[in-house]
Amino acid sequence: MVLVSANPYGAFVLDIRGNLLFSISFDEPNYKSQLIDSLHPMSPEKVITDSQRIVDALADHFKVDLDLGNEILKSWRLSRLSHLKNEYHLQIDETDYKQKVRDYAIALSRISVRQHAEGRDTLIAQAIHAIDELQKSFTLLGGRLYEIYALHFPELTSRIQNPATLARIILKHSNRESFSAETLSTFGISAEYVQYIVQHKDESLGANFSVSDLAIIEALAKSVYDLYQNKMQLEKWIETVMNEVAPNLTAVAGANVGARLIAHVGNLKSLAFLSSGKVQTLGAEKALYKALRFKGKTPKHGIIFQIPEVGTMPFWLRGKMARAFASKIVIAARLDVYGGSYLGPEMREKLKEKANLLRKQFPNPPKEASKPNKQSSKKNRSKRRKK
């Protein structure tokens, strides 16, 4: 059995009494294989360490125990400098030691921060796709749940809008006879509807269902509700991770839109290197190709249309606003990629001001502009077909 202690100077191998056997500096590019090669001749039945770094280096070759409580390792840890001086005969003072520790920690932290920022953005992209798929399934299965449950209690299903609410109600009490005003009001249903539903539970136009029929419906309701919860969890997760990975982009575009932009191009870096004109039409590619093919108006906005300050603009200003957002989004994404300062909130504030200003400056649509509508594009299409 041997002990391995780790510190900024390297890996220190000790015998069970704590005598230093040998050490290998972490500055050696192949310190792992050196450490393994030096340990092999000793064929230790077990290696005990207090450091994950040593576990990572040795776990494939030896049986390694992680033990922060080991007294010898702890004594090395708690008074490291004196051990290094006395046993390793290191000729340094407190100031040198602090300097070494700091340099070591800063180098490791830099690598680690970079690693964590990379990769997680592609996870975000996957999560966005998962959210869309969950939403699709939720809508489909939710619709099915409505149809089935309407056979039993149509007076309820006609009064409930959201499949998630319907699912929760069914999970609480599936048989309409067990409904009560008290339980129904806990689902955020208006008093008027509650009264209507309770009134009809005994004289419903729906069919009576057996216990086993209801069990099947409950199972379906559970699936619907699980899908809904899953989606909510993912949305919450995206919010947190977006703030970590792309805080500036998140501040400017919001977590959802920011994540969708990333998902559309695959990762944050690709987004940061797009032109702002391209960012403006991300997610509107279909409309763009159509416009090019049929010589219609090119679309002014894609995903970023979902940003409230863009989407709620009157149509003659939407393009301007989308352009303003797109250019700031690119800047924000670059700041995030290169670890720049946190300017996002300020940029968003400025964009909001710009929106207010534009509204005041151009309260009416310009004369020559016409709202792009289906008719005009149809006209274009038929013209081309005739040719």
Binding site: N7, V101, I106, G339
Partner: protein, 229 residues
């Protein structure tokens, strides 16, 4: 009104500033001319001080509410869990100007700011790691005189004691700022504080001193204790 700066009670390196804006705490700026997060700089008798706001920092409010942190001295080594962007860390760095502060933070975003701060202040050792796993930084951190935890996690006391056990020297001090609502939404804060206190005692922290800082940080309490190993 004249400005007056003097040491705050027995807390070495922490000052009370009496002046135009009433009384506030401050630390001596060890990097004169630089304000870290927009805090006020105060000149007094040839030295520069940085306002150490009790509204922004739980350590500052704990000290202001009467807690004396014995283990926090100019030459102390400190392990700080949940460093965030380094607001409070920068003041601890002022206080332990002859010592060292190991600052642990796991979110990459605030860590970037912390790295920036550490590049300017030579007694800060930034560590990007999860405080739930001390084995991730046991190669960097050695014996410390003071452990402080402000991680706002449901099991923060457990994380705190793991680190105390691993790194605090015998007779060292340890302090945790407990956010009641991150532990339980359902229980009353007083109840949460009592349970956490009991847990710390069970795990071997002695001579506990408590200070309720809810006045400045909603539903927060700081507990300070001594560790005999």
């Amino acid at each position: 009104m004249e400005i007056d700066v003097r040491q705050f009670k027995k807390q070495k390196g922490v000052y009370s500033v009496k002046g135009i804006m009433g009384v506030s705490l401050a630390t001596e700026n060890r990097l004169p001319g630089f304000s870290v997060y927009g805090e006020r700089l105060i000149d007094f008798k040839g030295k520069e001080y940085r306002e150490f706001s009790h509204k922004r920092s739980k350590i500052a409010s704990s000290i202001l509410m009467g807690l004396n942190i014995d283990a926090l001295k100019p030459d102390s080594k400190v392990l700080y869990l949940g460093a965030s962007t380094g607001t409070t860390v920068s003041h601890v760095s002022d206080i332990v100007h002859l010592g060292l502060i190991y600052a642990v933070e796991f979110a990459p975003r605030p860590m970037r700011d912390l790295l920036e701060l550490a590049s300017l202040r030579t007694n800060i050792v930034p560590i990007h790691a999860d405080a739930r796993h001390p084995e991730l930084y046991s190669d960097v951190v050695d014996g410390v005189d003071f452990v402080y935890a402000d991680v706002a996690q449901p099991n923060q006391s457990e994380i705190f004691m793991e680190n105390v056990k691993a790194f605090l020297r015998p007779n060292g001090g340890a302090m945790i700022s407990i956010k009641a609502r991150s532990i339980s939404q359902a229980k009353a804060p007083e109840q949460v504080f009592k349970e956490e206190e009991k847990y710390l005692e069970q795990k071997g922290l002695k001579d506990l001193k408590k200070v309720n800082i809810s006045k400045y940080h909603k539903d927060h309490m700081s507990i300070y204790g001594t560790w005999f190993g």
